[in-house]
């Protein structure tokens, strides 16, 4: 059932309801170090698991000899694919990924064998003694090698639902979007701009490494304590691999140190369970940082070719685009990423004539899948770069060009979908444009001496504030400033006909004379603050102060994934529905037990609310306390929240009501560039985002800050480097750089709250949109400062210098 109502009365008589910046219930545990992350788990007699991984991107495995490893004292088990008890492959959308390599490895770092030992170092050293005989094969590294007539087929005999529609078996999925008549529009265009863009492979780089603890159970099953994004889909993939019925595979969420999409696929889950079941002892696996880079999917690197045509006064007439996403060795969520890139490929703009094609490849590069922004990030960099190019060609202000073409409520997307909720794109752009700019700095030409602000006072140069920071070698002579803008569009929730739902159980009872509500869901709290919001919703709906959050596990129905900016919408919505059911039951019980005491109880629930631990009338007049109504009874109800049904995109035209909700964020970036050294300092980021309704304003700001930081990272520093042989060259935090405190500038954030009539409380998913426009805004600012075209991210010094 879809919630299509925005309740009018959402104030609450207790503190910490929705709309307040209620503190995190897990905050105190996290600041004292008591919060148990998955890498902190411990069990009596626990063994440590370790994974032997392929040193090659593409090779045939001739033989695996484990005898040397088994002889190491302290080793309890060594497993290869021959030890798999049941199903040998798994996958989110396509079960193409072997639990342990069988006969062939398809990417550098692919798991080949497992060791369990009594010390992590023993396990690691034993793994070194496993002899694997490889015959290296030519790696497939890009579209040309993947679709060459004589290309080796990476997954022969595909039977997945996309395989019938793709032009080559090394293409995972292909989604065209066709609308209007591009040829005619091209003929009519006054101005045409074309560009080729490239996005490097970004990593989620969450801080808490993949880890978990598998404990064999007496019933022959296994209990897995795990940091993941979706407990139930992990179980659905695990049970067939372990050869166990689903009810014997029980998962409990342990502390998650960030996710950003990388925990959607299985990593060590099956490995730990297999070792635990084999040894009969608890097995813990904790990835090192290097292993983490090999153990999860990354953001799809992309090559994008765009052509935009417009009238002289800046109306977009058509967009033609081709987007090639490298999915790497296994499918993961590539089909959905392709669908997103295609359907969101022209951005938040009204364009009548569109021809977009997105394809996802199988190659021998590292597997790519979900990462915050999910296909929309790559497209946003390209279409926003094109908008700047077009503005320059037209001699028009880039923000003005965007505003002239911005979608709004009622606009038609290239998929034919009508946007049926507020879409304040022009307003968001206006806001970032009108925010005051950061003051000039003393080293910039024309700066007023004394305007130097805090960086050392009037006229002084604090080298820490220069591009390059303390390690810089100039004093700002060649530093120029630039300002850039961008806006993006992201879908919320699962799309293309997926039956997206979540489950929540809410229990209300008197404990120690006080009403206490308990919320039980399988939602993965990965840092986003979902548990905080659940407490707020319960306080608002049930008017009780004390809310406890039950640990997330598979004993309650699925909550779906903590991804696609969907958890507050979906699980929050389920909590709300469960609360409404509990409230109805409270009122029914009250009527039954106390109805005689006041005619106001009436015959239905109209006009009665729960507030401050009491049943009250619309005027706030108390009728009874919850203690009187409940007595020693507990009300314990479970509800599912489904969003309204979407439909798949037509495979030839891409038409269809594919997305349930859109979210929008706009950015302005101010950068300073040292044009002699090619170094960039982002001086300030400003963002404006529509969140429908800010259930927790502080958390919303935090999401916008964090998403902006990841986008900035993609703009100027983050890239997994893969050699021509398909080998990862920088799997460490020494070589894969994410923004530090010194790289992140101050941020201004403005939040709009234009309610979405289809969503619970009118809310709009928040987490991903700010990741999109941050990247092109920074690059636009660097372009403005340097005049360079800059068509690839991350931007490197050599690009800035034109080398």
């Amino acid at each position: 059932m879809a919630v299509t109502r925005t309740p009018s009365r959402i104030t609450t008589g207790v503190a910490g309801g929705i709309g307040t910046s209620a503190p995190r219930p897990d905050g105190a545990l996290k600041v004292t170090g008591e919060f148990a992350y998955s890498s902190d788990l411990w069990a009596e007699d626990m063994l440590w698991g370790f994974t032997l991984r392929s040193p090659h991107a593409h090779a045939e495995i001739r033989s695996i000899d484990t005898t040397g490893a088994l002889r190491v004292p302290g080793v309890h088990a060594v497993l290869t694919h021959e030890d798999l008890p049941a199903k040998t492959h798994y996958g989110l959308e396509i079960a193409d990924q072997p639990v342990l390599a069988i006969g062939r490895v398809r990417f550098h770092g692919e798991p080949v064998a497992l060791v369990a030992a009594d010390h992590p170092e023993t396990a690691r050293r034993a793994a070194e003694r496993i002899r694997v005989e490889y015959v290296e094969l030519e790696p497939i590294v890009d579209e040309a090698t993947a679709t060459a007539p004589d290309a080796a087929v990476l997954h022969p005999g595909r039977t997945d639902r996309h395989s019938r529609h793709v032009p080559h078996p090394n293409i995972v999925h292909r989604q065209p979007i066709r609308r209007g008549d591009v040829a005619a529009a091209r003929a009519a265009a006054d101005v045409v701009v074309r560009g080729d863009y490239e996005v490097g492979m970004q990593d989620q780089a969450f801080l808490g490494p993949e880890s978990g603890l598998a404990v064999p159970a007496e019933d022959g099953g296994v209990d897995l304590y795990i940091a993941t994004q979706w407990l139930h889909v992990d179980r659905d993939q695990l049970a067939p691999v372990l050869g166990l019925p689903p009810e014997k595979v029980r998962l409990t969420l342990s502390g998650v140190g960030g996710a950003f999409g990388a925990r959607e696929d299985l990593s060590m889950q099956a490995h730990a369970c297999l070792l635990a079941l084999r040894t009969g002892r608890p097995v813990k696996i904790v990835y090192s940082r290097e292993e983490s880079f090999f153990g999860h999917v990354h953001r799809h690197p992309a090559k994008l070719s765009y052509e935009h045509g417009a009238t002289r006064d800046g109306r977009l007439l058509y967009v033609a685009a081709r987007i090639v996403l490298d999915g790497g060795a296994y499918a993961s969520s590539t089909p959905a990423v392709v669908g997103n890139a295609a359907s969101l490929g022209v951005g938040p703009y009204e364009v009548d004539n569109v021809e977009v094609e997105a394809v996802g490849l199988y190659t021998n590069n590292p597997p790519c899948g979900a990462m915050r922004g999910f296909g929309a990030v790559q497209a946003c960099f390209a279409y926003e770069s094109q908008m700047d190019r077009l503005a320059a060609e037209l001699g028009m202000d880039p923000v003005e060009l965007r505003r002239r073409n911005a979608v709004s409520q009622g606009s038609v997307m290239p998929t034919g979908q009508v946007i049926d909720a507020p879409a304040p794109v022009a307003e968001l752009l206006r806001r970032v444009k009108e925010m005051p700019l950061p003051p000039e700095r003393p080293w910039l030409p024309g700066a007023v001496v004394g305007d130097g602000g805090p960086d050392g006072g009037a006229g002084a140069v604090d080298v820490r504030a220069l591009p390059g920071g303390l390690s810089n070698t100039t004093h700002g002579e060649g530093v120029v400033r630039g300002v850039g803008y961008a806006v993006g569009i992201k879908n919320v929730g699962f799309s293309e006909g997926f039956d997206d739902y979540s489950t929540a159980r809410v229990r209300l009872e008197m404990i120690g004379g006080e009403p206490v509500a308990m919320v039980h869901t399988a939602m993965a709290e990965v840092g986003q603050g979902g548990v905080t919001v659940h407490g707020q919703i319960v306080r608002t709906e049930l008017g009780v102060e004390r809310v406890t959050i039950h640990p997330a596990d598979t004993r309650v129905g699925s909550a779906g994934s903590t991804s696609a900016s969907r958890q507050t919408y979906m699980t929050g919505g389920a909590v709300k529905l469960a609360c409404e059911a509990v409230r109805a039951e409270v009122l029914r019980l009250g009527r039954e037990r106390l109805g005689g005491t006041s005619p106001l109880w009436g015959t239905d629930d109209t006009g009665l609310f729960l507030e401050g631990g009491k049943v009250v009338t619309a005027e706030g007049r108390p009728l009874a306390s919850l203690a009187e109504v409940l007595g020693s009874d507990a009300i314990d109800l479970t509800r599912e929240h489904h969003h309204r049904r979407t439909e798949p995109f037509d495979l030839r035209t891409g038409q269809g009501f594919g997305h349930v909700q859109y979210s929008f964020c706009a950015h302005r970036a101010v950068v300073e560039v040292d044009t002699e050294l090619g170094l960039v300092k982002v001086v300030e980021m400003a963002a404006a985002q529509d969140v429908g309704r800010a259930l927790n304003p502080k958390s919303v700001e935090g999401q916008i800050h964090g998403g902006t930081a990841q986008g900035l990272g993609l703009a100027v520093m983050e890239e997994i480097l893969v050699s021509d042989e398909g080998r990862v060259r920088n799997p460490s935090f020494t070589d894969y750089l994410i923004p530090t405190f010194l790289d992140m500038p101050p941020m201004r954030v403005e939040i709009l709250e234009l309610a979405d009539p289809h969503a619970p409380y009118g809310l709009r998913g928040v987490g991903e949109a700010p990741t999109l426009s941050s990247t092109p805004a920074v690059v636009a600012a660097i372009r403005a400062a340097t005049g360079r075209a800059l068509t690839r991210v991350p931007v490197r010094p050599e690009h800035i210098l034109g080398l």
């Binding site: 910046s21 503190p23 992350y37 780089a205 801080l207 808490g208 140190g257 460490s732």
Partner: protein, 176 residues
């Protein structure tokens, strides 16, 4: 080998320590103090920051044997009997904690910074904490937390960011 040292004021011993074991491993796996986190084990992220004789170090880079007879302070030692320390409180209040994996290391680093520089400027804070990666927050709210812990929004350095925006931008919701 046996390593004995003081942790958060208590004398502790760890037996059967391998030569290559880091202080971080011994704290987490042998002494049951998992507060210091393991995120890179290469000295790059600061998640494992503890104080060794008062000086912040990456526990992943310290061999366990180097801690012999020395004093180690971890996040577990930050709180007081009556609850959270001001720095811990400030992190919760400012919304500086998301996934929280970086938090213990940051808290130890901030605690030391404020002991050394009670009223740090924003630039000081950024520099002092540049060895502590956080992937979730974008650092803005961490900066706010440090300002808060250093004496509230009126503390020197709070209003004087490199730009006016340093003060945090428009309050959420107000703009709507």
């Amino acid at each position: 080998m046996r390593v004995s040292f003081t942790v958060n004021g208590r004398r502790l011993e760890a037996d059967d320590v391998w030569e290559g074991e880091s202080l971080l491993y011994v704290l987490r796996e042998r002494l049951g103090l998992p507060g210091a986190k393991n995120a890179c084990e290469q000295g790059e992220c600061g998640s494992c920051t503890v104080r060794l004789d008062g000086v912040p170090v990456c526990a992943c880079l310290v061999a366990a044997g180097q801690a012999q007879d020395r004093a180690v302070e971890t996040v577990e030692g930050l709180g007081t009997a009556s609850g959270l320390s001001p720095v811990q409180r400030a992190f919760v209040d400012a919304g500086a904690v998301q996934c929280g994996f970086c938090t213990p290391g940051l808290l130890v680093a901030v605690d030391e910074l404020l002991e050394r520089v009670p009223r740090p400027s924003d630039a000081d804070v950024r520099e002092a904490l540049s060895g502590n990666l956080c992937r979730c927050t974008g650092y803005e709210k961490i900066l706010e937390a440090v300002r808060l812990a250093a004496g509230g929004p009126d503390a020197p350095g709070a209003a004087a960011g490199p730009a006016a925006g340093e003060a945090g931008g428009a309050p959420a919701g107000e703009a709507g």
